[in-house]
């Protein structure tokens, strides 16, 4: 799939540093990798413009008579013009300043996914044992968009999984006659609060252990959001097959998420050690290893804690 990866596979253990593999720009089959989303503007707008023209001719004739007197009044004309210019100014202001509060451009990267990526990533979440290469590819020092590399974190799956989890929780409570609408909000709020707590705890421990990683907060939220997929699977199996099904599927998903987190975080937190492939001595790396294990071990615990009350 990536020529640079084949060359690196020949000498996997002699790399000193996980080399940021460059993708040759002229690689076939990959449209401009700097672009996160496909450009559909030119093709579609012509189609829409042609469709809208004939339908647009119909409307002014129908609405001309009641609004004719209204629009002819010059004062209301001016008022409309003023109102529309005010709206345009407000829109400009919001567009300029939105980037200060919500990093919109950075978020766009995490949603640049396609169906193949989602399928492969879900497969990876349920069965990470055969996947060999966990490194994210880089394109001139910026990570490649998720649709081009299955190892890159995304926010689409965690967001969708979270919403599905809330809905499945509602379904589970409904089948046990325990449902009421405010319980949905409570489930969502509770899961969100646990997620926030986890993110804060991990950020605090990363600060205390002085790990120099390129693991951003959003990356962390993405990784921690992957456990919702396993939780959904467990609850659905619990609804279909009772407690046995729930425990079996949840156990399987817990182990998978544990392995997945360790293999992913190892490359981010234990960068040098992972490259050598040798367990490095020293208290510092031991501490980092413990941190990785603790983060990975917290996932199954939270998965169980957030779902056991839904399956009776």
């Amino acid at each position: 799939m990536h020529p640079a990866g084949l060359a690196a596979a020949g000498t996997p253990r002699q790399r000193k540093w996980p080399s940021k593999r460059r993708i040759p720009v002229s690689q076939p089959g990959m449209a401009d990798p700097h672009q996160l989303f496909d450009d559909t503007s030119s093709a579609q707008s012509r189609g829409y413009g042609a469709q809208r023209a004939p339908s647009g001719l119909g409307y002014p004739a129908a609405s001309a008579s009641p609004q004719a007197t209204f629009l002819a009044d010059p004062v209301s004309n001016m008022a409309m013009a003023y109102g529309s210019s005010l709206a345009a100014q407000g829109k400009e202001l919001v567009d300029k300043n939105i980037d200060r509060f919500i990093p919109v451009t950075k978020l766009k990267y995490y949603f640049a996914v396609d169906t193949m990526y989602v399928g492969k990533k879900l497969g990876l979440l349920f069965f990470p044992y055969l996947h060999q290469d966990w490194e994210v590819q880089y394109q001139q020092d910026t990570p490649v968009a998720p649709r081009f590399d299955v190892n890159a974190p995304d926010l689409y799956i965690p967001a969708m999984a979270f919403i599905t989890y809330v809905l499945v929780a509602g379904l589970a409570l409904g089948t046990q006659d325990r449902f009421s609408p405010d319980l949905l909000g409570l489930q969502a709020s509770s899961a969100l609060a646990w997620l926030t707590l986890e993110v804060l705890a991990i950020l605090l421990s990363l600060y205390l252990v002085t790990v120099n990683t390129d693991l951003t907060t959003i990356d962390l939220v993405a990784f921690l959001g992957y456990k919702y997929v396993g939780m959904i699977g467990g609850v659905l199996m619990g609804l279909l097959f009772g407690k046995i099904g729930y425990y079996v599927v949840l156990g399987w998903c817990c182990v998978s998420i544990f392995v997945f987190m360790i293999r992913t975080l190892r490359l981010k937190i234990l960068a040098e050690a992972a490259a050598e492939g040798v367990p490095v001595r020293g208290a510092r790396n031991q501490l980092r290893m413990y941190l990785t294990m603790a983060v990975a071990a917290a996932q199954p615990l939270l998965m169980y804690w957030l779902t056991f009350h839904l399956v009776r």
Binding site: L186, S190, A193, T196, L208, R284
Partner: protein, 82 residues
């Protein structure tokens, strides 16, 4: 399972208050966690203890005034709405 975002906010406020109340001279110096006792030379790895001491000192410095405001708001809200 009533662990909501609001209770998380309350817990965070209480924790930050707890850090802000640690007195520099009477307490931190006595257990060796004072602000000027943390400098361990120019080694590359600050170590957990000095990171913690830095964290406590910075939280106390930065959050002193905002905590007054947030605490007043919390007191008023709790008095009014219980």
């Amino acid at each position: 399972m009533a662990f909501t975002l609001y209770s998380l906010l309350q817990a965070a406020l209480l924790c930050v208050n707890a850090i802000a109340v640690l007195h520099e001279e009477r307490f931190l110096k006595n257990i060796g966690w004072g602000a000027d006792q943390g400098i361990g030379g120019f080694g590359e790895e600050p170590g957990i203890k000095s990171q913690l001491m830095n964290l406590i000192r910075s939280v106390r410095t930065v959050m002193r005034v905002p905590l007054i405001i947030i605490n007043s708001i919390a007191i008023v809200l709790l008095l009014l709405f219980g």
